[in-house]
Amino acid sequence: MSENKELFDLTEKLSKLCGTSGDEGAVRDFISSRIPAGCTVTTDSIGNLIVFKKGAQTPAKKIMYCAHMDEVGFIVTYVCEDGRLKFAPVGGISSSVVFGRRVVFANGTVGVIAAKALHQLTSDEEEKQPKIEDLAIDIGAENAEEARKYADQGDFCYFMGSYEEFGDGFIKGKALDDRAGCAVMLTMLNEELPYDAYFVFTVQEEIGTRGAQCAAFTVKPDIAVILETTTACDIAGSEDEKEVCRLGEGVVVSFMDRSTIYDRELYRLARRAADDIGVKNQTKSLIAGGNDSGAVHKAVGGVRTAALSVPTRYLHSPSCVMKKEDVTAVLDTARELLKRLGELQ
């Protein structure tokens, strides 16, 4: 059984940090500070944190684990005369999770995103979800000059989403995509490993798996395991295959998504590894989503790739929801898989 307390302590701390694509510094600093002595640690030019840890044996195939540090966020594109800040989403964010939210800047400035009151809407407007390009951040400034004292063009800002446990073993928070994966890797890094492995904390996943592309070139692995989160739609009003995957049903091992057809043997190996150690596992019932695998499996002449994901509700919102036992299932499976990958010739 895993050390749950340590894993979820890390998950909580990582979830609270702010780091969207291109602004991962705070996350990278935290992770660096938790890497044990004896590892080889480098930060490459794009910002990936590449960690090599010796294990009991050197495997025949070079193995790389990946999780991304960045989260979705916002960047200020323009300061309006009336003091509002126009913005663009960094990564894919639906307007419906932006409207009516608070955001926070690195300097502590708080802003809100909304529009005229519902009482003032025409009946047509009432039916329409406002588009992101029509929204702006209100930091309470009366004009552009006052606004610039608090925030300016090019500044990043973030959802304000508290990290909390609730219900029957559930957690919610912002940025759990993919800080949960980072927490799993950090936990593994602090254990004795059966085989040597690279652990790469990547940047810029949310804007096109750009960090992973560079990291794969640098590490040149034979085998890659991507630790991620994936959309679960096991909610009211959704049934059967449209649920995609379910919370509480364990690690999600993917056979295909929109960016990758996963290595068939590794897919089977991962599911068997989970089965053998009594860890719940499932796969996705819809070809949807994508992750760093898309860049990694095509790199350096081809890398055999598998993805282990935490089923997650409400991805890319301030309230991502997971079940703790599924995060633990990803950790247990990732560990067991390393043993079996090390045995591959």
Binding site: C80, D82, G83, R84, S94, S96, V97, F99, G100, R101, R102, T109, V110, G111, V112, I113, A114, A115, K116, A117, L118, H119, Q120, E126, E127, K128, Q129, A136, D138, I139, G140, A141, E142, E146, K149, G161, S162, E164, F166, G167, D168, G169, F170, K172, T231, C233, D234, I235, A236, G237, K242, V244, G248, L286, R313, Y314, S317, P318, S319, V321
Partner: protein, 342 residues
């Protein structure tokens, strides 16, 4: 002001279940009106003065309830279906963190809405309240029912936060900002000899049709009422002539249902005392408790002073404390009969 707003907005009081907000307001009111109490209809009342001194009585009124949801059904997978208490904004439902106020205490939840791959044809449409559910992290109806019951209220959580300058954001500033303005007025006239007795009413169920104000005004012995609520502050997508301007002071309401003489008196006082004010003209009734208070008994002479607020009925309502203070000062100026500073 921040401390009072923080206390009032942190408290919960969805229409018909105002207890938390009532207790917060009662505790603050008790500093000025020792008999302050909440009644079984969710209203808080207090009296300052002497019923036998022959002076006329002025009621200061704000509503204590806030918009929210009410649990209507728990489905077999443990998700909660809800209905509206007041007009909630349909544009902001997805993935909001909520508190469900259960008998045994509050629990957390997240509003779930179907993602695009499942509800592809509805992508650009706002959600109906009947389409959403609340995820409280229980796997079954049986597990959820141990904690949650139909009738429990739900709020979207947001404590008070500072924005630039004197602007603030929180849930429920509609109308806790009004409650804060009344308390500010009482602070300003504290210990002074006044030409009036004061009745305070923080009324319940405004958001579902001013029901608390109707109930409580019947028991009132006020001759004059000064009601305060929030009104629309201009945002760039709205019509200028339908809005006040944030930071420009108390919005003195002019409407056929409001008392003309008192309204004129308020404007004069504001000008004399250099209290920032603006005029809000309404062609008919006001959509606030003032409408019902003014026809209570044989009629109570009623005026309305509003606080400009942005993003009404969202969890990110914004006010400027300058405006809240202006409303409080104007009420205080009226209570003193224009004598002395406020």
């Amino acid at each position: 002001m921040d401390e009072i707003l923080e206390k009032l907005c942190a408290a919960n009081g969805v229409s018909g279940a105002e207890d938390g907000a009532c207790e917060a307001a009662r505790a603050l009111l008790a500093q000025y009106a020792p008999d302050a109490a909440a009644d079984r209809f969710g209203c808080v009342t207090g009296f300052i003065g002497d019923r036998n001194n022959g002076k006329p009585t002025v009621m200061l009124e704000a509503h204590i309830d806030e918009i929210g949801f009410i649990v209507t059904y728990i489905d077999e997978d443990g998700f909660l279906k809800v209905g509206n208490c007041g007009g909630t904004d349909r544009r902001l439902y997805a993935a909001q963190t909520v508190n469900v106020h259960c008998e045994s205490g509050d629990i957390r939840g997240v509003i779930c809405t179907l993602p695009p791959h499942v509800a592809a044809d509805n992508k650009d449409k706002t959600q109906k309240t009947s389409d959403i559910a609340i995820d409280v992290g229980f796997p079954s109806r049986e597990a959820a029912e141990k904690v949650v019951s139909p009738g429990d209220r739900v709020t979207i959580d947001n404590r008070l936060a500072k924005l630039a300058g004197t602007r603030r954001t929180a849930k429920a500033l509609d109308d806790r900002a009004g409650v804060a303005a009344v308390l500010h007025a009482l602070e300003l006239v504290k210990g002074r000899e006044l030409p009036y007795n004061i009745e305070v009413l923080f009324a319940s169920q405004e958001e579902v049709g001013s029901r608390g104000a109707i109930i409580s005004a019947f028991n009132s012995r006020a001759d004059i009422a000064l009601a305060t609520d929030v009104s629309f502050a201009y945002t760039s997508d709205a019509k200028k002539h339908e809005c006040g301007v944030m930071g420009k002071g108390a919005m003195i309401g002019v409407s056929p249902v409001l008392d003309r003489e008192i309204t004129v008196e308020l404007k004069k006082l504001a000008a004399d005392k250099k209290i920032p004010f603006q005029t809000e003209v309404m062609g008919r009734s006001t959509g606030t408790d003032a409408d019902d208070i003014s026809v209570s008994h044989g009629g109570i002479r009623t005026a309305l002073i509003s606080i400009p607020l942005k993003y009404m009925h969202t969890p990110v309502e914004v006010i400027d404390t300058v405006d809240v203070e202006a409303v409080g000062r104007l009420m205080a100026a009226f209570l003193t009969g224009g004598e002395g500073d406020v």
